[in-house]
C-alpha cells in the first residue's frame, strides 16, 4: 500500500524544487504569504507556550512542526468556506482569519475565544476526537443543497482515524458526494501512542479506499505540496466532484500539550532529522531569490508587535461574565434555569 501512496513533494528538504514546472506557479506573493503566515503562527505558538509556563493561560497544545500543513491548507480556502479545526489547529484558523486575541482567550478558558469574526465560518475547535468530521460532512452537504460552491475542511490527527466518527463521517461524505476535504495531519503520535500502535496500515491515505474516495499522501512539511494538493481537492469539491482525503505527513516538534513530557514515550533523537517547515521555506526562498532581509525583518517586527498587542488585549479584556453560564444554554431560558441564574447572581452580588 505504501507504494500506492507515495509522499508527494514539491520541494525537497533543502528547499529545491523537485518539479521545476512549479517555479512559475510559485510567485513572490504566494511565497511571502506563506512565509508571513507560517512565521506568524509560529510566533503565536511559542508565545502561547511561554504564557502557559507563566500561568497566564491554561494548558496549551503546541503545533510547532505542523506550520506548513496548517498554513498551506488554510490558504487554499476562500471566504464562505468552512473550517472544522481541532484544538491543535489554531495555526490554520489564524491563517483563515480567526482573531488572535480571541484565540488567546480560548486558551484562557474563555467562551469568547470560539466566536469567529463576522463572515468567517470557523467552528469551535473539536475537543472530543473525530466528532468534527461528520460536522464537516453535514455542512458541506448543506452548502451543496443550497447550490453554493463553498466547501468544508475538516482537520484531524492520526489518532482520530481510530474513532467511529471518522468512518461514519467519511462514509456519509462519499455516499452524498459532499464537497468536503478531510485533511489529516499525521504527526506520528496521538499523545504518546505512535502510529504503529494506532493502526496496522502504513498510511492513512489508503483508508479512503474503503469509500472509493480519492486520496493523496503528501509531505506535510512542504508548504507548497500542501497548498497545491489542497487546491486540487478544493477545486474538485467546488466542482461537485465530491470529497477527498489528504494525509499530510508531518511532525509535532514539541509536547502534546504543555502538560505532556514527550521524552517519556519518544525514542531519543526521533524526529531530529526532520527539517522544519519554516527552515525549509527559508532555504527555498534563498535558493530561488525570494529572500529579502529587509522584508523579513519588517515582517518579524510586525508579527511580534501583533502578538504582543494580542496578549495585552487578552489580558486586558474584561473578566468572564458569570451570566454567560446561563444565557446561552437555550435561546430562551426555561423558568427553572432563570431562577438558578437569578439566585446565583444575587448571591454573587451579596459577596
Amino acid at each position: 500500500m505504501e507504494e500506492q501512496f507515495p509522499i508527494k513533494k514539491v520541494m525537497d528538504d533543502q528547499g529545491n524544487l523537485i518539479d521545476s514546472s512549479y517555479e512559475e506557479k510559485i510567485d513572490e506573493e504566494l511565497v511571502r504569504t506563506m512565509y508571513y503566515n507560517m512565521l506568524r503562527i509560529r510566533t503565536f505558538d511559542r508565545k502561547a507556550i511561554n504564557l502557559q509556563r507563566q500561568g497566564r493561560i491554561g494548558t496549551y497544545p503546541p503545533f510547532e512542526g505542523q506550520e506548513a500543513s496548517q498554513v498551506g491548507s488554510a490558504l487554499a480556502l476562500k471566504d464562505g468556506d468552512w473550517m472544522f479545526p481541532t484544538y491543535r489547529d489554531h495555526g490554520a484558523t489564524l491563517t483563515f482569519g480567526a482573531d488572535m486575541v480571541r484565540t488567546f482567550l480560548y486558551w484562557n478558558g474563555r467562551h469568547e475565544g470560539v466566536v469567529p469574526p463576522k463572515g468567517k465560518n470557523i467552528f469551535p475547535a473539536a475537543v472530543p476526537i473525530a466528532t468534527q468530521i461528520p460536522h464537516a460532512t453535514g455542512t458541506a452537504w448543506a452548502e451543496k443543497r443550497k447550490g453554493t460552491t463553498n466547501i468544508a475542511l475538516a482537520y484531524f490527527g492520526d489518532g482520530a482515524t481510530s474513532e467511529g466518527d471518522f468512518h461514519e463521517g467519511l462514509n456519509f461524505a462519499s455516499v452524498f458526494q459532499t464537497p468536503t476535504v478531510f485533511f489529516n495531519q499525521n504527526n506520528g503520535y496521538a499523545i504518546s501512542v505512535p502510529i504503529e500502535k494506532q493502526m496496522n496500515s502504513k498510511t492513512i491515505a489508503q483508508k479512503a479506499l474503503a469509500y472509493d474516495m480519492p486520496s493523496v499522501r503528501i509531505d506535510g512539511n512542504d508548504c507548497f505540496s500542501v497548498y497545491f494538493e489542497m487546491e486540487k481537492a478544493v477545486n474538485r469539491a467546488r466542482e461537485g466532484s465530491g470529497p477527498t482525503l489528504i494525509e499530510a505527513v508531518t511532525w509535532r516538534t514539541g509536547a502534546h500539550t504543555t502538560a505532556d513530557d514527550p521524552t517519556k514515550y519518544r525514542p531519543d533523537g526521533q524526529g531530529e532529522e526532520i527539517v522544519h517547515p519554516l527552515d525549509r521555506l527559508e532555504m527555498f526562498m534563498k535558493n530561488y531569490g525570494h529572500w529579502n532581509e529587509e522584508w523579513i525583518s519588517e515582517t518579524k517586527e510586525k508579527i511580534e508587535n501583533e502578538v504582543e498587542a494580542a496578549v495585552e488585549a487578552m489580558e486586558n479584556s474584561p473578566k468572564a461574565n458569570p451570566a454567560d453560564l446561563f444565557d446561552y444554554v437555550f435561546e430562551q431560558n426555561p423558568e427553572h434555569l432563570e431562577e438558578q441564574k437569578d439566585q446565583y447572581l444575587a448571591q454573587l452580588k451579596g459577596d
Binding site: V115, H135, T139, F330, P334
Partner: protein, 339 residues
C-alpha cells in the same frame, strides 16, 4: 396563529380522525410543506416510509433530497445534522428505535446540546430527534428502552413526549419550530392505540406545558406517553372506590411544568408518579424533587412512584412484568391515601 395548550382547535377548523402515527406523519408533512429548510433523515424513512410508516408517502411528495434514506449510522446522522443545522437547515432525524440512539449519544451530548452555550449563541444546532420508545409491542431486546432520563440530564436539549394524536402533531410542529434541539419521544404502544380528531394544517402545542387530563381532589397521578392511559385506568378504578384522582399528562419532560405539578399536589396533598423507565435515576425522582421544593408543607404522605423495575427491559416474554400496570398504580394510590 399558535394554538396553545388549553385551546383546542377552533370549531370551524377542519379536523380528521387520526391515530398518533398518522398525526406524526401529518405533522411532518405540514412542516415539509411550510418550510423548505425542513429535511428528514433516517434509516428506511424514504422509500420504505419508515418501519412504523411515520414517513409514509413523504419521499414521493418531497423528493429524495428532503426525505433522505441515510446509511445505518446514528452518529453519522446526528453528526451530519449538526452541520446541516448550523447552516440553516432544520433536520428532523429519526432514530429507528430509541434503543438505537446510544451510538449517537456522544454527538448529542458533546455538540448538539452544547453548541449554543459553547459559542455564546454564535452557533446552534436546532434539530428534532424523533425516537419511538417503550415496551409492550413484543419487539426484540433494546427496541423497548425508555431513555428520557439520559436526555433530561443534558442541559441544552428539550425532551418532549406526547400521549395523544392531537398533542403528537402539535408538539412535533412546535419542536420543529423550536430554536433549540428537541428529543421527540414517541410511545410506540400508542401509535395505533386510538384515533381522535386532529386539525388539518398547522397548529402548535406549547413545549413546557403539561395537560391536566382529569380533575380530582384526593391524589395527583403524573404520567406521560404510554403511561397516561395506564394512569387513567387506575384513576377510573380508584374513583369507583371513592378516591378522586387528578391526572396530569406531562407532555414535556424537559423543562418540567413545575407550576402545574405544584398546583395540583398542593391541592391533593398526595402524588403517584408513573413511568416506564427504571425507577432509579428515572425522571420520577426529578418530579419528586419539584414537589419537595415547591409543596413540602402540603404533603400528606410520601410520594409514590410506580416505574419500570431496576432491571434491563427484558425480552418480550417478560415485558408485561416489567411495565407498570394500572394494578400497581392502584396499589400505590391506596398506599398513599391510607398512609
Amino acid at each position: 396563529m399558535d394554538l396553545k395548550v388549553e385551546q383546542k382547535p377552533e370549531v370551524n377548523s377542519k379536523t380528521k380522525q387520526m391515530t398518533m402515527i398518522q398525526a406524526i406523519n401529518d405533522g411532518l408533512k405540514t412542516m415539509l410543506e411550510l418550510d423548505e429548510k425542513t429535511i428528514l433523515l433516517g434509516e428506511d424513512i424514504g422509500k420504505n416510509g419508515g418501519v412504523f410508516r411515520a414517513t409514509e408517502g413523504l419521499q414521493e411528495v418531497f423528493g429524495e433530497d428532503r426525505v433522505v434514506d441515510t446509511p445505518l449510522s446514528e452518529s453519522g446522522i446526528v453528526g451530519t445534522s449538526v452541520g446541516l443545522a448550523v447552516n440553516g437547515f432544520k433536520p428532523v432525524a429519526e432514530m429507528q428505535f430509541m434503543g438505537f440512539i446510544y451510538p449517537a449519544y456522544d454527538q448529542i451530548m458533546t455538540h448538539v446540546s452544547r453548541l449554543r452555550m459553547k459559542t455564546l449563541g454564535h452557533y446552534s444546532a436546532p434539530m428534532v430527534i424523533r425516537a419511538p420508545y417503550g415496551a409492550g409491542i413484543r419487539a426484540p431486546e433494546i427496541h423497548s428502552d425508555s431513555a428520557e432520563a439520559l436526555f433530561t440530564h443534558m442541559p441544552g436539549v428539550k425532551v418532549v413526549c406526547p400521549a395523544t394524536p392531537y398533542d403528537a402533531k402539535g408538539l412535533l410542529i412546535e419542536s420543529i419550530e423550536d430554536p433549540d434541539p428537541v428529543i421527540f419521544m414517541e410511545p410506540m404502544r400508542s401509535y395505533r392505540a386510538k384515533r381522535e380528531d386532529v386539525p388539518e394544517g398547522k397548529y402548535n402545542v406549547e413545549i413546557g406545558k403539561g395537560n391536566k387530563v382529569q380533575e380530582g381532589t384526593d391524589i395527583t397521578l403524573i404520567a406521560w406517553g404510554a403511561m397516561v392511559p395506564v394512569a387513567e385506568q387506575a384513576a377510573k378504578q380508584a374513583e369507583e372506590q371513592g378516591v378522586s384522582c387528578e391526572v396530569i399528562d406531562l407532555r414535556t419532560l424537559y423543562p418540567l411544568d413545575r407550576e402545574l405539578i405544584a398546583e395540583s399536589v398542593q391541592k391533593t396533598g398526595r402524588a403517584v408518579i408513573v413511568h416506564e423507565a427504571h425507577g432509579t435515576g428515572g425522571l420520577g425522582n426529578d418530579i419528586l424533587s419539584v414537589i419537595n421544593d415547591t409543596s413540602f408543607l402540603y404533603l400528606r404522605s410520601p410520594i409514590e412512584r410506580v416505574t419500570g423495575f431496576d432491571v434491563p427491559v427484558p425480552f418480550f416474554s417478560l415485558e408485561d412484568h416489567y411495565l407498570p400496570t394500572a394494578k400497581r398504580v392502584l396499589e400505590s394510590i391506596y398506599k398513599s391515601v391510607n398512609f
